[in-house]
């Protein structure tokens, strides 16, 4: 297994399968939050389901409204298991804190969307600031 080091994040330890895109994330504009799929046609993951996945993306976008939306997704039970970013913006981090969603960013080894590939098995430890890729050496 391979261990990546990141900034201390938030939320609980989680394990899951990665869904990676070299694109950004807006809870407000990119998602069909009822169906749990990326809905904006020109998003790299358009049509794909994020439910139960660990999303790995570049950064988060959107204004203050998006702080409420992760919570709403979590309550409805259609939500990513965790989100990893190169850089999270403040609003989505606040939203993750409300929703108790695991979120980490700022990876020491470089661009996280290169370091992790779709389908990788990940173990995230936000308090320690580590992400383990179980299927790689």
């Amino acid at each position: 297994m391979k261990i990546l080091k990141c900034h201390v994040g938030m939320g609980d330890k989680v394990e899951g399968e990665a869904l990676v895109a070299k694109d950004n994330f807006s809870a407000r504009y990119d998602l069909d939050r009822i169906k749990g799929v990326f809905s904006r046609p020109d998003h790299e993951l358009a049509g794909q389901s994020y439910d139960g996945k660990i999303l790995v993306m570049n950064t988060s976008k959107g204004g203050v409204a998006s702080a409420w939306m992760l919570h709403e997704m979590k309550m409805r039970g259609v939500t990513p298991k965790a989100i990893l970013f190169n850089t999270a913006n403040t609003i989505l981090a606040q939203g993750a804190a409300l929703a108790d969603l695991t979120m980490c960013d700022r990876f020491e080894e470089g661009d996280v969307t290169d370091l992790i590939q779709t389908g990788d098995r990940l173990e995230i430890d936000p308090a320690a600031g580590t992400v383990t890729i179980a299927n790689r050496t």
């Binding site: 938030m10 204004g63 203050v64 409204a65 309550m75 403040t90 606040q94 939203g95």
Partner: protein, 408 residues
Amino acid sequence: MRLTDEEEAMLAGKMGKARQWAIDHQIKVGRMFDAEDLVPVSQAHMMGDPEAVGEAGADFLEGMADDGARVAIPTITDPRGVDLSYYEPMGQTEEMATLERRIVGALERMGVMMTNTCINYQTIMPPVRGDHVAFGDTGVVIYANSACGARSNFEGGPSALAAGLTGRTPRYGLHLDEKRRATRRLRVSEQPRGLTDWGILGAVAGKTVGSYWEVPVIEGLEVTPTSDEMKHLGAAMASYGSTPLFHLAGITPEAPTLAAVGGDTLESELLDADAMGAMRSRFGGKGDKLDVVVFAAPQLSLVEMEQVSRLCDGQTLKVPLFACAAPQVYPDAQRMGFVDKIETAGGKVLVGTCFYNGFAREVGEANGWTRLLSNSAKIVNILGGYGYEPALASMEDCVSSAIAGEIV
């Protein structure tokens, strides 16, 4: 994070469940952004319209109110999503209004003042230089930081509420001196004239820097913006760039000189006329069909209400025109006859909402509105993602187009 005895007591639940949630939330966020402690704030401003809050958020807010949550500092609100005196004609549903009423009810029980405005720096209590606040609307934050020299991060609804409950916020980002220094130096070659030009300048500057952690200092301005022009400059910059702070060399309080914010050591980048023109030509063409004209984002000041009313006076509008007024502005606008002039011409003044945050997609579909004209660069940016084809024009051209029924 370093906590005071009082903060430890909050975290231990000795000051109630709501404050315990609030400070726990702030510690989680603060840890992620390397805050060393919490900083007392003088006021909080909270965004919580029903479209964003949703059913789950309304349940959460009602639960907080049931737990006896009470705000500890003046806590005010951003525009609502539903004007409860005028939602059916907008095509908003009873379900939307019910959600709105639930959220308002819960916030009122917590002692939140329902000011419903995104121009609180013009209508309620502008913060002063060095004032730490927890503001929750990107346009409000950028104005407070830049024009007033106050200190705030973008605080989403839950975080602004947490600040209201604890009277503090985690000390990271723009609460720190070093994060307020300029990181990009932009020079204008064209002097902005009028609200829309200032909005275009903000949009171009925002797109150029494009990050929460970049602070542009703008040089070369020979004109000093009015408060309304500064409002459009900031709202557009925050919308296009996620930018929370800018400096105008020789104008804004922290930048009496370029050197005062470290701008003298940065390479100057020219925002030329082509960049501004490209921003203008991204939007609609003359003679195009027009469905609706909107003045909002940010809400109108009394001065803007007077300007719109003068343009509408004695005219007959062929397409619907909406002007979103701050609730503090509305009574004056009514008393002075501005509302009457706009509505006699066929327009409508909405109170306490801001159009784009009130189920704009559903409203557009219910009324068959696609081609939307506004003088706000911010609203044009946002509504493009909501099924509209928005176009940008000056206030004068917006009203002339509403009279002609097509873009002039």
